[in-house]
Symmetry: C2
Subunit: 76 residues, 2 copies
């Protein structure tokens, strides 16, 4: 699995687990809803700053978020 796809699946799962819409996550993270949509679909890949913003919005460490991506990538 391409890493951007794994990242997108993890972001989508975390967002839904927190009962957030893409718009709400956009507000929490300071990212545009359309960008979040592209990330979730694996159509765009995040920069380190984007990873930091999303981790912050989800209230987890960046390294925890990346661990989930590694797990997702390894499983498929």
């Amino acid at each position: 699995m391409e890493i951007a796809v794994a990242f997108g699946l993890v972001i989508r799962r975390l967002r839904i687990a927190r009962d957030l819409t893409q718009e709400q996550l956009g507000f929490e993270s300071g990212l545009r809803r359309t960008f979040i949509s592209s990330l979730e679909l694996g159509q765009k890949e995040p920069s380190l700053t984007t990873i930091a913003k999303l981790s912050n919005a989800f209230e987890i460490n960046m390294s925890e978020l990346i661990s989930l991506v590694e797990l997702e990538k390894g499983e498929h």
Copy 2:
């Protein structure tokens, strides 16, 4: 500290610990030497794919690399 600066310091430290030149790290990671130089100076920030390539070259997990960046960022 800006996150790109913390990332750059970590990359530089890992590269030197492994006794690699920027050119050698470029060869190992598939990144250009000039890009590695900009990353180390915190002038550019990495994408997730770049983080994956560098982790691979250093033979550590991406999450371990990001943990080092979080540590670096927290310390300054």
